[in-house]
């Protein structure tokens, strides 16, 4: 398996100055600099996409697509220091398009029965069955909570808690004002506090 960073490692937000320098080089036409950026950020973007699609294959394809799009639109980036927020913004758009296409397909055609979540995870991680079971357990508890959030509440909540973006970066990524992002985040966190089972599980079962 390709591992741009160690599994389980907390989000590597990179050295901002290093990323900024690489983006500046890439803007000057250095392909190698952009390839280095891809290596730095692939793990983050892949996980971000995976958590929103729950499909490894889709996550692989979308990650590739996101970086190609970022490369082709890099000159649209005004501030090299905001590269991460900008990249996540592209990812948010691609994932939204992906879900819209899936919904459209499902309107016209009956999709072949998808394998159950457990099967998919087991097939995806043949050597990581323990991790696969833990993942199933985690999502079994997370999904009811995510289901009660509105799409924007869910997006800003995940961007903040899982992807570790600042409020300012989330605002850039989802093209909203910071005050709006804070309002969505506020509602999402209050809804989380109304989930005693999830909170107890997090407190007691997760080290």
């Amino acid at each position: 398996m390709y591992q741009p960073d160690e599994p389980g490692e907390r989000v590597d937000t990179g050295t901002p100055s290093n990323t900024e320098a690489l983006v500046t080089k890439a803007l000057e036409g250095s392909r190698e600099a952009f390839e280095e950026i891809m290596r730095l950020y692939q793990g983050q973007i892949f996980r971000m996409v995976y958590m929103r699609t729950r499909s490894r294959m889709d996550a692989e394809d979308l990650t590739q697509e996101i970086f190609l799009r970022a490369f082709s639109k890099l000159c649209a980036l005004k501030d090299a220091g905001r590269f991460r927020a900008w990249l996540f913004g592209i990812a948010v758009n691609r994932i939204r398009d992906h879900h819209r296409k899936r919904r459209l397909r499902s309107l016209f055609f009956v999709q072949p029965q998808a394998p159950s979540e457990g099967t998919e995870i087991a097939v995806q991680n043949p050597y990581e069955s323990v991790s696969g079971l833990a993942e199933q357990e985690f999502w079994k508890r997370m999904e009811p909570f995510l289901a009660i959030l509105s799409p924007m509440e869910r997006e800003v909540f995940l961007l903040r808690t899982v992807d570790e973006l600042s409020v300012g970066d989330i605002a850039t990524a989802v093209h909203r004002r910071e005050g709006t992002v804070k309002a969505f985040l506020h509602r999402a966190i209050k809804k989380l506090r109304r989930q005693p089972l999830l909170l107890r599980w997090l407190k007691e079962e997760i080290p």
Partner: protein, 181 residues
């Protein structure tokens, strides 16, 4: 004297951005053990949730590559708006034909019946050849395949649902995807 603790709203606000609290609220938060514990617990819960989601998510199998699926540059003769305008014109034409079909009906051309039959046969034969060259499988076998997924291919979906714009950061437009700028 009764102590005023921070409400749930203010605690959540502190977690999102401590700077949003007023100075007296901040001082209270840092000095009051009860409020401080609640605030820290909530922070810890969110961090734990994020850390767990991250730890359990798999990593990518393959490295992304710029050469794998290079985006093709849009040809100068086919600008972005051409496709949608073309589709709109075709739809309008189809509607006109549907509503006022009579004016477009072929007039009697004076050909003999024998000639017309032969032309119809030739046309039918040509259509049959086209059909077989596109899909040689008999209908019964074709039905075995799931045509649902192929019928709505990526190109058609892209036409129906154009890609969301990422241009909010600049007025610059795409350059074809072969180089950054």
């Amino acid at each position: 004297m009764k102590t005023e603790h921070l409400s749930e709203d203010r605690l959540v606000r502190a977690v999102i951005d401590l700077g949003d609290l007023s100075e007296p609220e901040k001082r209270h938060l840092l000095a009051c053990p009860r409020c401080k514990t609640e605030w820290e617990d909530l922070e810890a819960q969110l961090q734990k949730l994020g850390r767990t989601a991250h730890r359990l998510a798999p990593g990518p199998f393959r490295a992304v590559s710029l050469t794998e699926h290079k985006l093709r540059p849009r040809p100068f003769w086919r600008p972005r708006w051409a496709f949608s305008w073309g589709a709109a014109a075709a739809a309008a034409f189809a509607l006109i034909v549907f509503l006022w079909g009579a004016p477009f009906k072929p007039e009697t051309d004076g050909l003999g019946d024998e000639m017309r039959i032969e032309m119809t046969e030739t046309e039918r034969f040509t259509l049959e050849i086209d059909r077989v060259s596109e899909d040689a499988l008999p209908q019964t076998l074709s039905d075995l395949f799931d045509e649902g997924l192929s019928a709505l291919d990526e190109g058609f979906l892209h036409f129906l649902l154009p890609v969301s714009g990422d241009d909010e950061f600049s007025d610059q437009r795409r350059n074809g995807g072969t180089k950054p700028c």
